[in-house]
């Protein structure tokens, strides 16, 4: 092993062609997020790309080994605070199965509603950043303002604006507030009307289409081979959505439509989450209709629940970025022995170096952010 092999990327003392310039994009760069991308460019073309995550590693998985099954809830949602219900979902499902807790029917519907609302909140935030990465300041301000509608709804439900900690093993923390169904229906209808207006200013914009079409094309075979999930996989023509393929809670009773595009380019990857938001609105309306109007939303738990003996469980859900899994190992104590989160962000990031090679430097932000990647979630 030579010195260059063990050096961190970007610091490697490789002799490169004099034409090639190494750019450190991040972590203090407006177009990088909480990570660093080491890009080598020849003129305006990217010849090598080395994503370097790990700047926001907080040891969430290790922290989970020192807390019991209930107190794990507030900190396991921290990786993606905008999508906190979905991030917590697989852990809660797994804990329920491993502890043998039954969940009331109404709680399952409340979870589906909260989960879809959170998917929209996350996607709007993601879309705002995608807009400003392309220099479209209106597309930054509009989603950032319109997601307040749904944040207000979630505040009514859980009391917190972003980190809800609403899902707990055994149901949800609180029942829905009075008159929630009417308010939710009204807000969601208005929200859907608003996001349809984005087509005129953003998705049908000729400059945007000519800029993002045929850039960073991820073929169907490569999308499957790199292990991408979620909107990235669906934009490459793979009809894969866990809400349909492996339904959890009450998704099997709801009519879920999957949005698939065949192009696999940056434009398709940016459009699929937008279509998914409209689908989320449909799901929320169905769930509000089918939800039992009254009943318990939480099974009463013992103070320190523990498993009967050693047990393992793996549960996964469709989050805002793709398939999000949680693997829990228990050795019979009150704390889990090991909690492992299998996050979609990191798997989507793996496709990035191959997509960026040969692209122009101007395409880097759009290809990077179209991968539906959340740096904090990848680091955990």
């Amino acid at each position: 092993m030579t010195m260059t092999d063990i050096m961190p990327p970007g610091l490697a003392l490789k002799k490169v062609d004099e034409r090639i310039m190494t750019l450190n994009v991040g972590p203090q760069h407006p177009g990088s997020g909480h990570m660093r991308i080491v890009v080598q460019i020849d003129g305006d073309y990217i010849v090598a790309c080395d994503p370097d995550p790990g700047y926001v590693h907080r040891g969430e998985e290790k922290m989970a080994e020192y807390r019991n099954y209930i107190t794990n809830v507030p900190h396991l949602e921290r990786p993606v605070i905008h999508d906190s219900c979905n991030v917590l979902y697989p852990y809660v499902l797994g804990a329920e199965e491993i502890l043998g807790i039954e969940v009331p029917e109404r709680a399952k519907y409340v979870r589906v509603i909260c989960s879809e609302l959170n998917r929209c909140i996350y996607t709007m935030y993601w879309l705002a950043i995608y807009g400003i990465f392309l220099g479209h300041s209106t597309m930054f301000m509009w989603p950032a303002g319109d997601r307040e509608l749904l944040i207000d709804l979630m505040e009514k439900v859980s009391g917190a604006r972003v980190t809800h900690a609403h899902f707990i093993p055994g149901g949800v923390r609180n029942d829905l507030p009075a008159n929630f169904e009417d308010v939710c229906l009204r807000q969601v209808n208005y929200f859907e009307k608003r996001i349809k207006e984005y087509a005129a200013v953003f998705y049908d914009n000729p400059i945007l289409i000519s800029r993002t079409q045929d850039t960073g094309v991820l073929s169907r075979e490569n999308a499957i081979r790199y292990g991408t999930t979620g909107s990235v996989l669906r934009a490459s023509g793979v009809d894969y959505d866990l809400r349909v393929k492996a339904p959890y809670d009450v998704y099997d009773e709801l009519d879920v439509h999957t949005n698939v595009m065949k192009e696999g380019d940056s434009y398709a990857r940016s459009k699929v989450p937008w279509l998914d938001m409209m689908e989320s609105c449909n799901i929320i309306r169905q769930a509000l209709q089918k939800m039992p109007k009254s009943g318990s939303v939480r099974t009463k738990l013992k103070p320190n629940p523990k498993t009967k003996g050693p047990a393992t469980v793996y549960k996964r859900v469709e989050s805002g970025r793709g398939s999000l899994g949680c693997y829990i190992v228990s050795d019979g104590k009150t704390e889990p022995y090991r909690v492992k989160m299998s996050v979609p962000s990191f798997r989507n990031l793996l496709a990035m170096p191959n997509l960026l090679i040969g692209e122009k430097l101007g395409n880097m932000p759009s290809v990077y952010w179209s991968l539906n990647y959340w740096p904090v979630e990848a680091d955990r």
């Binding site: 300041s137 209106t138 101007g362």
Partner: protein
């Protein structure tokens, strides 16, 4: 001993005042007075009633109200007033400041925001002043490996070049700082300076992101200068002159945009690119190259570059108005100056006036300025508007747009102008 200043002593206060006064007298007598002498030597003071206006004479005359107005009027005829105040720097800076405020408010309304609100009671009208104070008070940080003389000089040269551009724009009949016969050629010369300044500042910063931004700016400006110049040839062919005042005067019946719409569109698009406005703001694309060639500028150096950018924006909008929208020409809406003020108004037992020196501005000048400002503000509005609607385009799309489509359209415009000329419809001097 007061509670506000417990260590206050009257004797020390007076001593400090005397200290300061000593230094002030010393500095004024050693540095200030010679500088004033040197300035007075170079400035041509006006001659009033056959007497050269010295500062001493001006101060004695100011005591007499009937002689104040002639002094003011004589001062307005000097070159210094033209350069610093009315058609020159002060006027342009005022419009530039208004442009920044309108841009921020308009963009905010477009994006369902409020925009500047708290600074200055009325809709945040003093926000720009606050931003300016902030920029002035900030520390200027120079990169250690920068080529310091060039890096320091670049923002100043940028503002100076933009001001030189402003000097060429005629605002009203006879009101232009530099009324040169080859005015349009002068405009091309000034525009040719901007890429040089940009690449100098970008290269001297010795940093990677400014370097890429500077190269992009160089590509963009050089490749859009050719369609810019070609699109203006149509107007030159039809008017037969390069003097901007004559070009504006030739449009007294109709503006050239009626006959040369293609040239106007090409000029407008190239103008956006030269100004680095969205969708052509690649040299400052923040998600790709931080702030492009402005990355290493801090404090007032950045403020100067911004000032230069907005002066340039005003100058380009003014050039568009002069060349295609008829300059100062428009229906007479300013009422004539009341004649009574010239002869004197009788108010009962008193007779007020006559006021020698009135009117300060003639009717044509006020009307021309009004129409010029209205048209310029309209053009600036259309320059600002794409920022709310379009994303940024890519460098290869930009270059293919400049080198293929816009140059082709500019040639189409030249053929239209030549056709009109040879068909005898229009000729030098315009259709009267």
């Amino acid at each position: 001993m007061s509670a506000l200043a417990p260590k206050f002593k009257l004797s020390e206060f007076i001593k400090s005042l005397l200290d300061n006064a000593f230094w002030m007298v010393l500095l004024v007598s050693l540095i200030g007075l010679p500088i004033i002498q040197i300035i007075l030597f170079y400035i041509e003071m006006p001659v009033i009633d056959g007497e050269l206006l010295t500062p001493f004479l001006a101060m004695t005359w100011l005591a007499d109200p009937t002689r104040t107005l002639p002094i003011v009027k004589a001062f307005m005829a000097t070159d210094m007033f033209r350069v610093m105040a009315f058609p020159g720097f002060g006027f342009a800076a005022l419009i530039a400041a208004a442009t920044i405020f309108v841009e921020r408010k308009m963009l905010a309304k477009l994006q369902l925001r409020v925009g500047p609100f708290y600074c200055g009671k009325i809709e945040g009208i003093l926000q720009l002043m606050g931003d300016g104070l902030k920029l002035i008070s900030k520390e200027i940080i120079i990169p250690a490996k920068a080529d310091k003389p060039i890096f320091w000089a670049a923002p100043v040269i940028f503002v100076a070049t933009a001001a030189a551009f402003v000097a060429l724009i005629p605002v009203a009949p006879g009101w232009v700082v530099a009324d040169v016969d080859l005015g349009l050629l002068g405009v091309f010369a000034v525009i040719g300076f901007f890429p040089i300044i940009t690449i100098l500042s970008a290269w001297s910063a010795n940093s990677k992101f400014p370097f890429i931004g500077g190269i992009r700016a160089l590509f963009q400006m050089v490749s859009f200068e050719i369609p810019l110049i070609l699109s203006l040839l149509g107007v030159v062919i039809l008017t037969g002159t390069l003097n901007l005042s004559e070009i504006a005067a030739s449009q007294s019946s109709f503006p050239w945009i009626i006959f040369l719409p293609v040239g106007a569109i090409v000029f407008f698009i190239t103008m956006l690119a030269e100004l680095e406005r969205i969708p052509f703001d690649l040299p400052e694309a923040e998600s790709e190259i931080v702030a492009g060639w402005l990355t290493e500028f801090s404090g007032m150096m950045y403020g100067l570059v911004q000032l230069g950018t907005y002066l340039k924006l005003y100058a380009f909008a003014g050039l568009f108005v002069v060349l295609f929208l008829g300059g100062w020409n428009g229906p007479m809406v300013v009422p004539p100056f009341p004649e009574e003020l010239l002869t004197g108004v009788e108010m009962g037992p008193l007779t007020v006036g006559p006021f020698p020196g009135l009117p300060l501005f003639d009717q044509e000048m006020l009307n021309g300025t009004l129409w010029f400002v209205l048209k310029t503000v309209g053009v600036i509005f259309f320059i600002l508007l794409p920022r709310g609607v379009f994303p940024r385009i890519r460098i290869d799309m930009l270059l293919s747009l400049g080198w293929t489509k816009l140059i082709g359209l500019a040639f189409v415009n030249i053929f239209i102008a030549l056709g009109l000329l040879y068909a005898g419809v229009l000729g030098p001097g315009g259709l009267q």
